[in-house]
């Protein structure tokens, strides 16, 4: 795969947060004052592809996408967008990139400025980037048509919108300047099952119409199964498994993947859960386990797992896993 096809490339990304200042750290006996929210992530996204990033709380998935869009600083690692490496991460340098990357936020109403009308919100990207608006009214109408919202909502305020409507406004805004990449953070969170399809179908339609690429971050496995051809599973700041969605569901390589799939309740009273449940909880980032971060909860953990963190290795057909004893290999 040549670099030309790649829209996004992330290499060994690290994002750390300081928990307390240097002085306190010294007083606390030099305890490491940093949290590694993202601890070495590498991934790629091809043009026109939809990549799903799956993880629970503490996985670092939100931090990862914020790092990609430049909203947080990174401690190490490199990011390329559309072939060009992002070196200067200051706001001014990032601005042209932000035209190319649209972002959809998890809480649709909270991500809309509360005292602005929908019209003002969907036209905001034009104003930020000084893009010629032409007839603002027409543009606003067009954007509403694109996402299937009535023009009457243009004069509404965010708190007057339903969750689904607010999400659509978020889509309209993210796509206003025809970006290349859209990053969606939990696009179906808070939406009833009967309307989840609306937003997902809309995203798929627009992907085809506008040639978009998506990164969809979610913890909702049934949803991701339908919308992305490839996924990456994150745990405590690292990717533990990556590959085609179908293969990951049919034959998970990493015990965590298997546990996640097993944990999803099946809407059929006669279909009990198959695999045993995962015990314990996600450890706090402060107490990152030594070796493989998953070993305290892993049913197949062995001595090596406790001391040595597994590196990502390639398995067959574009699948990668970070595990000393991947499941397929056990068969």
């Amino acid at each position: 795969m040549t670099d030309d096809a790649r829209l996004l490339r992330v290499e060994d990304l690290h994002v750390r947060f300081r928990t307390h200042g240097a002085l306190r750290a010294a007083m606390a006996g030099n305890r490491d004052p940093f949290l590694d929210a993202v601890a070495g992530i590498s991934l790629t996204l091809d043009r026109g592809e939809t990549l799903g990033i799956v993880g629970e709380s503490g996985s670092g998935k939100t931090t990862l996408i914020r790092a990609i869009i430049g909203l947080t600083d990174i401690a190490a690692g490199r990011i390329w967008f559309d072939g060009a490496e992002i070196i200067d991460r200051r706001d001014a340098a990032f601005r042209p990139l932000r035209r190319q990357i649209g972002m959809m936020f998890q809480d649709p109403v909270a991500s809309l400025s509360p005292r602005k009308t929908v019209r003002s919100l969907v036209l905001e990207p034009f104003r930020i980037h000084d893009v010629e608006l032409g007839e603002p009214e027409t543009r606003a109408d067009e954007l509403m048509d694109m996402v299937g919202l009535p023009h009457t909502l243009l004069d509404s305020y965010p708190h007057q919108l339903s969750g689904g409507q607010a999400r659509r406004v978020g889509v309209a805004r993210a796509l206003a300047l025809r970006p290349r990449l859209v990053i969606a953070d939990e696009p179906t969170a808070g939406l009833d099952v009967s309307v989840q399809g609306e937003i997902l179908n809309l995203m798929a339609r627009l992907r085809d119409a506008l040639g978009l690429s998506y990164v969809i971050v979610t913890h909702n496995l049934p949803v991701i199964r339908h919308v992305s051809a490839r996924l990456a599973i994150m745990y405590l700041g690292r990717i533990v498994e990556e590959g085609p969605t179908r293969a990951a569901f049919a034959a998970p390589l990493h015990p965590y993947t298997r546990a996640l799939i097993a944990a999803v309740p099946r809407p059929d009273p006669d279909d009990a859960r198959s695999a045993p449940l995962l015990t314990g909880e996600v450890p706090s980032l402060r107490d990152r386990p030594a070796g493989c971060a998953f070993h305290p909860r892993c049913p197949a953990a062995q001595q090596r797992c406790r001391v040595e963190a597994p590196a990502m290795r390639a398995m067959s057909d574009a699948r990668r896993v970070a595990c000393h004893f991947p499941l397929a290999a056990q068969r």
Binding site: P222, H226, V264, E281, S284
Partner: protein, 328 residues
């Protein structure tokens, strides 16, 4: 009250809220029964009225709410006519609740031990015994080292742990009915699975019934013996869990099941469009005179537009509020 009296019996309950725009009819003619030793699930999406229903059971409705009609009987006693003493006995004693946010039940400035001892105020046991019961219950719900950890404060526990503590607190008084309102919605999926497993385990020990409210069909299927499906303030279908999931008779139930991504055959991202239910909820302040679901129903006929249908009894405890239910 005898051994066959249902724990909870709601008949024809209608509740409305007074608002500046006029009365909002949040619940209309809702009937449901929670028999002894059963888990009954209420499934519905936003705006279906499940929160209002739960609030009604414990008489925790907002001041602008009125019960327009119907009755609520708890172990045979009329809840709507209960005086303050009886209500106090009901809330937290005979009926206990677990909320979506465990912090609704946990006081952040008081130790867990103190809270768990305080809520046992109804029995006259000495403090040491109350504490022992509390520790035992924490152990039962899977809190490690309960002897030490019970003296901690809520913020020292993770979200999953807090929910376990909330469940422990609810069970401490041995309630006849445990009401769980979306108890796992705020939790990650692996934690959710653990909590659901815990509820299943407890179901065996519990000398009572569980009323489980959720929008998650998978959880309902896993936990519940009987299911009540609600839409926009009405019960549209009820039956045992297999009837609902394998032979749904109300169009809304069918569509809801069809929309659940976990039931849709996998397409691996190529994705045919996902099914949805077109349209939106009706305005409860300006109800149509038709069947409540008719505007969104793909099978609507002319007769659906003339008046709300009654529940059609389909036998074996299965009923659906649809004029076509008896036919198909």
């Amino acid at each position: 009250m005898n051994a066959t009296t249902p724990i909870l019996e709601i008949a024809g309950l209608s509740v409305s809220f007074a608002t500046p725009r006029g009365p909002v009819r949040a619940l209309r003619d809702v009937s449901l029964v929670v028999p002894r030793d059963r888990v009954v699930g209420i499934v519905g999406e936003s705006g279906c009225g499940k929160t209002t229903l739960i609030s009604s059971i414990l008489r925790l409705l907002a001041p602008n709410a009125t019960v327009d009609a119907g009755s609520i009987r708890f172990e045979g006693d009329d809840v709507l006519a209960m005086g303050n003493t009886a209500l106090q006995h009901l809330r937290g004693g005979r009926a206990a609740m677990v909320f979506q946010d465990p912090m609704s039940a946990l006081n952040p400035v008081v130790s867990i031990a103190r809270q768990m001892i305080d809520i046992q105020f109804r029995n006259g046991a000495p403090k040491a015994e109350k504490r022992a019961r509390a520790v035992a219950m924490l152990r039962r719900v899977g809190i490690p080292d309960p002897e030490e950890r019970i003296d901690g404060y809520a913020h020292r526990f993770s979200g999953g742990m807090r929910q376990r503590i909330a469940i422990a607190m609810a069970l401490l008084m041995n309630p006849a009915l445990l009401i769980a309102d979306e108890p796992t919605t705020a939790l990650d999926v692996t934690l959710e699975a653990q909590i659901v497993r815990l509820i299943r385990d407890i179901k065996r020990d519990l000398a009572g019934s569980i009323l489980f409210v959720s929008h998650n069909l998978g959880l309902i299927a896993e936990l519940c013996d009987e299911v009540v499906v609600m839409y926009a303030g009405e019960v549209v279908e009820r039956g045992d869990v297999r009837q609902i999931f394998h032979a749904p008779r109300h169009p809304y139930t069918r569509l809801l099941l069809a929309c659940d991504p976990a039931r849709i055959p996998e397409s691996g991202g190529a994705g045919a469009a996902l099914p949805t239910i077109k349209g939106g909820l009706p305005d409860l302040a300006a109800l149509p005179s038709s069947c409540i679901f008719a505007p969104r129903c793909p099978d609507a006929e002319a007769r659906c537009l003339h008046g709300a249908p009654a529940m059609v009894d389909l036998g074996a405890g299965h009923a659906a509020r649809c004029v076509r239910a008896g036919n198909d």
